[in-house]
Amino acid sequence: MSTVISQIFNGLQSGSVYALVALGYSMVYGIIMLLNFAHGDIIMVGAYVAWIMIAKAGLPPAVGVVAAVVGCTLLGITIEKVAYAPLRKSPRLSLLITAIGISFFLENLAQLVMGAGAKSMPEIVSGPGLSFAGANISFVAMVTIVVAVISMVLLTILVQRTKMGKAMRAVSEDMDSARLMGISVNRTISFTFALGSALAGIGAVLYSCAYPQASPTMGSMLGLKAFVAAVLGGIGSIPGAMIGGFAIGLLEAFVSAVGLSVWKEGAVFAILILVLLIKPTGIMGRVITEKV
């Protein structure tokens, strides 16, 4: 019993990071139909920013956290402006390849500048763990889950209730009509990137708390899995991304729990394929049909 509860919390913890990252994928896809392959690497940059601030400059963890979130946000906006905006009218394939290029670039740049080995992250939060029905749940796990859920609730309110949120939804529905309605499409897209990247920044901090290391390739597998989560939940859908994130986290935990940890990665991708074949739009996704 305690093992089952432990495993559920294990799944929820990694799932909440996946969900935060998946949200970034989902929002960007919703608005410009781009699979932002660089999203995972934004997290990597965020982790390095936190590391430089806390470990190198010796600043208090709170400064590092803020710096990571701000750094990610700025990076996200810059990438959008420099690499994606010029391609708004290009075929989607070009945009996708550009995203892959950005991802490549960030990883290799990090390797060049920071070295290939991992950097050890100082402790950002610490506190007593919780014993629950015989299962140990670490403080970090609880913080991760709570912060992720709060971020998601705030995001939902932002998108549903604010003017900018309405603009985001309008642009993702129909960019040209939104433009005709006087919505600044460019600003909305930038805002979406900023928001997605800020979430990535939060994800980077939570990730650094839970797994206190920063390495150049840390974003790639995380990004890939979060991306699977976004597709599973229905890419373009905010609640979908959350559901997908938690689902992937729990799936991984349970595949490991039944003793098939070796096949964990395979199971994630198998789920991805099954979802795409059975319901390509994911759990919460909308059907987008091509007009003939």
């Binding site: 989607r92 394939l93 892959i100 490549f104 990665e265 991708f269 390509p280 003939v292």
Partner: protein, 344 residues
């Protein structure tokens, strides 16, 4: 009349191309035999050949068919492993039988995987196809890594690498394969089948309404692409003599994609040139190895922003056309329009 002058079947053109190719093979091969071209350059040239096959085969699916499979390395891996396992088992067979058979096995198994993956994947479009092939590619890698523990006997040797594969790949073998692959793709693309594939890229709904069985042609192009990737994988196995699943990950797929994109999607000569340059360049730039990958990615982004169609666009090169212009007055091949002035 102009058209006919251009489209008269000219076996002569083919003979010239073939002769040129054979001269190339013989000259380079004898230079290798006489050590005029050193072992190092031979290795690089063979790698270039293997990469050309990979790029050209991916170009079939990406450039011509207009899909974006992100699991090409998976097909290469399947081909490499199946051919390697066969070659290790078939050491008793004479080489002139074992080698072509190994290549065929590598290609066929990859083709079968292409079919299994293509049937469901090709129902999806655009991004979703990219995602699902990425997923399949990763699954292939995970399976190669862990299959031995399921089967209970050693087949792929997982992380420990499949070692001691007979090193059967030679310059001659590689470039005969390069020639055959390029020839088959070229001739197919210049037939109704090729046009059907192009029409799917251009506008799938219109293609369908022109009576083209789009699913059939998509699957065909996809399977063919996988088959040739498998052949390249077989050559790679025989070239290196050791295989590890980690060498066939997502990154390898991207590497091949970069070759295709930089060369120009839909241009075979573009793929050939960029595969050559991108294989040779890092070797030549060993001194700057540190910055190589950063430069790569910047180049990729820059090309996408400033010249999204790639360096060669969809331009296809014809040796005989070049010959026609330079050496003789042979009419050009149908790749580009012949102007009235040329038709003297």
């Amino acid at each position: 009349m102009i058209k006919q002058a251009r489209d008269i079947p000219t076996p002569v053109k083919y003979l010239i191309n073939l002769a040129l190719f054979i001269i190339f093979l013989v000259v380079v091969n004898s230079m290798i035999a006489s050590k005029t071209i050193s072992g190092y350059y031979t290795k690089v040239i063979m790698l270039i050949g293997i990469n050309i096959i990979l790029a050209v085969s991916l170009n079939l699916a990406t450039g011509y068919l207009g899909q974006l499979p992100l699991g090409h390395a998976g097909f290469m891996a399947v081909g490499a492993y199946s051919s390697a396992i066969f070659m290790k088992a078939a050491s008793a067979l004479p080489m002139f039988i074992a080698l072509p058979l190994g290549l065929m096995i590598g290609g066929t198994v990859a083709g079968i995987f292409g079919f299994i993956i293509g049937i469901p994947a090709l129902r999806l479009r655009g991004d979703y196809l990219a995602i699902i092939t990425l997923g399949f590619g990763e699954i292939i890698r995970v399976i190669l890594l862990n299959i031995d523990s399921v089967l209970g006997f050693n087949l792929t040797y997982g992380a420990a690498s499949l070692k001691n594969i007979p090193k059967t790949t030679t310059f001659l073998g590689t470039f005969i394969c390069v020639f055959i692959v390029c020839y088959v793709i070229h001739t197919m693309m210049k037939s109704r089948h090729g046009r059907a594939i192009l029409s799917i890229r251009e506008n799938e709904i219109a293609a369908e309404s022109c009576g083209i069985k789009t699913t059939y042609y998509k699957t065909m192009a996809f399977v063919m692409s996988a088959f040739f990737a498998g052949v390249a994988g077989s050559l790679y196995a025989g070239y290196l003599g050791i295989l590890n699943p980690s060498n066939f990950g997502f990154m390898k797929s991207i590497e091949i994609l970069v070759m295709v994109v930089l060369g120009g999607m839909g241009s075979m000569i573009g793929s050939v040139i960029s595969a050559t340059v991108l294989t040779a360049l890092p070797e030549l730039l060993r001194a700057f190895a540190d910055y190589r990958m950063v430069a790569y990615s910047l180049l990729l982004i820059a090309v996408m922003i400033f010249k999204p169609s790639g360096l060669m666009g969809t331009y296809d090169f014809s040796l005989s056309r070049l010959l026609g212009k330079g050496l003789s007055r042979l009419p050009a091949r149908n790749a580009s329009p012949a102007r009235k002035g040329d038709d003297r």
